[in-house]
Amino acid sequence: MDLAELQAIAVKERSARRQVRIRCCAAAGCLPLGSMKIKEGLDAVVMQAGLRERVNVSAVGCLRLCSAGPLIQIDPDGPLYERVRPEEAASIVRALDGGPPATPQRGDPRQPFFARQRSIVLENCGLVDPDRIESYIEAGGYHALYHVLREMSPGAVVAELSKSGLRGRGGAGYPTGLKWATVAKQPAARKFVVCNADEGDPGAFMDRTVLESDPHRVLEGMAIAAYAVGANEGYIYIRGEYPLAIHRLDTAINEAKRTGLLGSQIFESRFDFKVDIRIGAGAYVCGEETALLHSIQGQRGVPRPRPPYPAAAGLWDLPTLINNVETFANVPPIIRKGGEWFASIGTETSKGTKVFALAGKIRHTGLVEVPMGTTLREIVEEIGGGAPAGTIKAVQTGGPSGGCIPAEHLDTPVDYESLIRVGSIMGSGGMIVMDQETNMVDVAKFFMEFCMDESCGKCIPCRAGTVQMHRLLERISQGLGTRSDLEQLEALCDMVKHTSLCGLGQSAPNPVLSTLRYFRHEYEDLIRDGAARRGSPVKKGTGPIISGPAPARASPAQLGHSPGLERGE
């Protein structure tokens, strides 16, 4: 493979284009709604109508507005059809051929949901066919790798990354250039590059979508990273719950090998790189880098204390570069357009864009990519269209490690530092919107239950502390809590946060701490109302006396309760 061959593939792919291209979303959001049936239907109708010379139908990655799926978009000029049903395929094709307007609901591609986004990571998402390497090459793919291998030194690649200001998209925001430089400086002869695709936060689906929609971009980013740090072997650690992403990655790796873009002497340089997939078995903690490395090595997925950091002693104690899917996906455009270009987007400390998975009580659920520094309000109200019923109460970012940001802080710009200041974190990009119906104590309890279930059991504070915190939250949410329970909960939060071994335990108290910071009154109301409910029957001597913890929330009637006392203490 050389540059001429790469360009020939792109030219051939371009010449095979038809005048009209129907793009069907074939990502995990639309597939279960029958998007492949729609594609087959469209293929059949195009064939029958004799339009094969003019129209082609392709399965592409995510078209982003998941809540309106299955989605279909038509090039040129991009009409968008929402909630398409398989039987409507014929009407869409007829409309193309001068027939009556198609029956499915027309979406507006110029609505703020699309217009306010800026795509770097998702630039090919919904445009290229993820199963065909030619489609990615035609979109400019693997040109950055050629440039790097033939025209740049490894040091220059690291310098470009440092200049870009890219920070780790897995959540912690460690400067990517610095991480690469650290691994590059290790003297070891054998090093590894690992892609962390163990996306496990509830409500997060950014990495899954990137892998399902544009898998080659991640492979290209990994290959560039491997060249920069001096590694020849890579692993993609992906969770087993993502069968489609695994399948597409597998296809992508085989296609890249076949085309000579992975393997030995890539682009006739002296650089060899091979990539293997490792599939996680469902442990959230395996997203923690040291647990992930243990898992790749075939051991029990538990974290170990750092240092030594994986950059010094990772896989089989050899220097290992670990980056998240989205971090690698940012690499090819940075090489293509330069670090300075990337650094011109975003804020002083957070450069580039960030992909968020919008979910929860919001009108437009789906995938959004916005420049760093965009405010939460722009994301949830303008792009996301606000809460369908009522007003937004809070936005949860960062998954179980993050926090709930109340509506009064919606003008906070999205960057690593600002989100920490309001008690949350950037995290990997899950964004769950809550409206006034949401009880914040229940939210805290949900995340605590998640952490309790996902604790690996190695260190005591996380293993036993999360269980105790969950019990206290359960008690408070049932109206059986006391003020001393709340004090104990806060003491446990402080202790688990500061003594746990890995990030899971250290951040497990965050949802409680952030809801206590902004919605403390909800905890206190539950305690006060519960005490009033339990106190009144005993005082009046009419209801049953409850000894020990009550089995569940008892109704006021059961307790012989007088409604007048409900709010009093």
């Binding site: 442990a283 690996c456 019990r471 500061h498």
Partner: protein, 238 residues
């Protein structure tokens, strides 16, 4: 080998460059509580009792796996650390069914000693009272999961000193258990050599010799360290 100087609780100390904070503190006679640490085996930093404060470091670090550095200023016994350690011990007592009065290790138990040293006179948390198994299928030993604190000392002693790797950990979170072979009764284990090193390694009465009754269990931790020293340094110091 270069020597580092540092201060622990305000007192200057010297250390070899490869030493951990815990090793230096022990040499200097400074007590730092530990539970998962066992002389002769690899440290895992899991119990978090040996966390110490280091000036200029934002987070607490486990003394057992943190190497000394020149000029380190370490505090091992602040009110905050004492409170955290106390809570860790309380969490352990609440997690399983630790009843000293009927335990083989009574008066010879590291958990009990830690509780006394750290001033744990009552448990402020809910007891979880889990239902735990007792496996006495082995002809000589037994394991009572009610008393296990998951320090994994048995796992490491069996793997690193005996070389059998009969023990391992299964399950996650609060459901985690030490297991023999592929989670089968200890008595049916094909790898167990019945050497009893796990018994010596166990800090509580979880692993016990059959036939011993209340307060009869005597662990000899020294025998494990002796074996390792003898093997690695060819020194037969009893």
């Amino acid at each position: 080998m270069p020597v580092k100087t540092l201060t622990i609780n305000g007192k200057p100390q010297s250390a070899r460059e490869d030493q951990t904070i815990l090793a230096v503190a022990r040499e200097a006679g400074i007590w730092i509580p530990t539970l998962c640490h066992l002389e002769g085996t690899t440290d895992v930093g899991a119990c978090r009792l040996c966390l110490v404060e280091i000036a200029g470091v934002g987070r607490l670090l486990p003394a057992c796996v943190t190497k000394v550095e020149e000029g380190m200023s370490i505090e091992t016994d602040t009110p905050r650390l004492r409170e955290y350690r106390r809570m860790i011990i309380e969490l352990l007592f609440a997690e399983r069914n630790h009843v000293c009065s009927i335990c083989v290790a009574n008066n010879n138990c590291e958990l009990q000693e830690l509780a006394i040293s750290l001033g744990v006179d009552h448990i402020r948390l809910d007891y979880l009272n889990p239902v735990c198994e007792v496996d006495i299928s082995h002809p000589r030993f037994g394991i009572d999961h009610n008393r296990c604190v998951l320090c994994t000392r048995c796992v490491r002693a069996c793997d690193e000193i005996e070389g059998a790797h009969t023990w391992d950990v299964a399950g996650r979170g609060i459901q985690a258990r030490v297991i023999t072979d592929l989670n089968q009764p200890w008595g049916t284990s094909m790898t167990c050599t019945s050497c009893g090193k796990c018994l010596q390694a166990c800090p509580t009465g979880a692993i016990f010799a059959q036939g011993s009754t209340v307060a009869e269990s005597r662990h000899d931790r020294g025998v494990l360290a002796f074996l390792v020293t003898a093997r690695e340094k060819k020194q037969w110091i009893v």
